[in-house]
Symmetry: D2
Subunit: 200 residues, 4 copies
């Protein structure tokens, strides 16, 4: 079909989880909106790129001209704890629980089993070196419970070995997820649930 | 979280089939692209709105400054036939079959069972009135095989009644879809398949 | 675990669509029923094998000691028409529509694309030879709309070629299934729906 | 359709997770097997009912004429620990991990939130009273991570309160299940994963 329709569809096809058909539907949705909505959207896409930058400390995306994000800037948080996540969205999920009050670090992904993948492990080590001087006592490696997540956790654990005397290295608890029945749970998760059983 | 991230996420949430979480993932995808990609995308969104307009005859979206789309403009097509679809994408699907060579009309949707919904039935009637003078002999009502699609087909059939002496009103064939087994087919479809059985 | 539990689970695993875990759940369900329920079920399984036999004419399963099933025995049905299905359940599905009043023949399956599979094509040809003498005028090949179903239809069409002067060979109508939208319909089905469009 | 086919189908419809259509397919599967297979199956269904009985100690189903099952009979297992499950299948799942070496008790289900449901809580209390005299030091309440499972755990915890000085009451660990990503994990599970984080 026509040019700019096709071109825009091709851009949407690059969006995570979007195939050619849904990309086309997005274009028709946009064609059906008002000119002002399209201008708003176009402006936001440019603006978000200019206004949003990664926090120089934790590397999560943040709005505004400040170097540090609102969390890293918040002096009331617990300076003894740092929690390492894969991506920005994980911070949102963890903040929602209201159970963690320390600082974060966005690793930027996980390593593949063959060791590929770019993660900010060097920046993490620099940050930890500095935080240790200021009382850091726990690093939580809050990565996915997938084989790649575990592989990356192993990699970080190795890098963190020199700090073991000062800093507790912890990982998220493994076990039954909310709403699941034992009969339908995989063996590895049951194993973790048994090993991690706790007084109640 | 931050402002323009939230604002853009809210725009993506309006996209067909997109929830809050995927909207947020789109924003992070955009943040991870290059500035030039973002500018391209923003430009395309504005451009598509300016460059693309509905064909004055069939009402499908088309690129360029012409009033009529490439299909309506194509004099080699079969002037005796008009096929009515709900939306632009349906034309793409039908063109792919290479079995229909007449003209199209985009209705813009279907009526709900309670009679709501805005469709271009008036524009369709005007177009047919004109095409009848130029030899139109078939109108194919190619709407969805849903109850709303059938309701809309009934509505159009009524409007078209005055032309019945000159124009054959037809609907798409109903029956077994490719790849389906009888055992797993609903009663209505089996009924259609029996009634529409054909010499082979 | 224990013997007869395992043995019964293994029997249930052979049921169509049943995996090891559901098979085990069936056993525990049976253990939880009353002794009289278990006896009833055991008796029925033996009884069904003794009481049910294939109709000598159409080959569908039927209860009782008669040679012919209730449909083949029903003189009020339309003797001019024979409808060929893959399996017993298809007859139930077609009878429900109340649109077909002739007789049936259960082929017993379909041929694979490589020509394998055992079907009752010889028995079918014998039946047709006989029915032609008694006024048969249509054979409906009501097989699945899958590639194997079509392959088998082709095979039967060839066998039936000698009768073409007396008997109309038909197949089930192909097209949009109830409840489907054009945008989500495969190309082959849209093609069938266009070719099989009909006056309405 | 015919009698014993229908009757048997109705029996299969009572199987867990089986609807009318699959029940009918089971009957046709049985009709297609050999007479000897049907006799085997019928015999097994009766036999399993006669041969299998609940262990008088842990209440799980066991084959044979013994009062106690092979696990309860196994003197080499850890007498200090008792693990309470909902159903027989859960024992299989836990035994597979090879991480638990104590004894079991099959509760027979969970209580609904409105307090309904029949569970063997009295038998459990009697067993515990007796085991405490023989060195029991831990009871693991290994119920589902559902609201009903938790409600039942609360109920048992209350009943077990008098033993708290001698016996540790524990529950399975809660947290990330194997293979899951944080972004797609519910808030309650993330909360559990944070609270249950552990040194690694």
């Amino acid at each position: 079909m026509s040019d700019s329709i096709e071109q825009l569809a091709r851009e949407f096809e690059r969006f995570p989880g979007i195939g050619p058909r849904q990309a086309k539907r997005f274009v028709y949705y946009i064609l059906a909106t008002s000119a002002s909505t399209r201008i708003t959207m176009a402006n936001l896409i440019e603006k978000v790129g200019n206004e949003v930058r990664r926090c120089v400390v934790c590397h999560r995306f943040q709005n505004g001209s400040k170097e540090q994000c609102s969390i890293c800037d918040d002096k009331s948080r617990d300076t003894t704890s740092l929690l390492v996540v894969e991506k920005d969205q994980d911070i949102i999920a963890i903040e929602k629980t209201n159970l963690y009050h320390g600082y974060y670090f966005v690793l930027g992904g996980v390593l593949t089993l063959s060791g590929k993948g770019i993660i900010r492990d060097e920046a993490l080590m620099k940050l930890i070196a500095q935080k240790v001087k200021n009382g850091l006592s726990e690093v939580v490696l809050a990565l996915s419970a997938t084989s790649e997540g575990e592989h990356t956790t192993d990699h970080l654990r190795l890098l963190l070995a020199p700090y073991r005397s000062q800093v507790r290295i912890s990982v998220l608890g493994r076990g039954l997820a909310t709403g699941t029945e034992i009969e339908y749970t995989d063996e590895q998760t049951i194993s973790a649930a048994i090993v991690n059983r706790k007084e109640s």
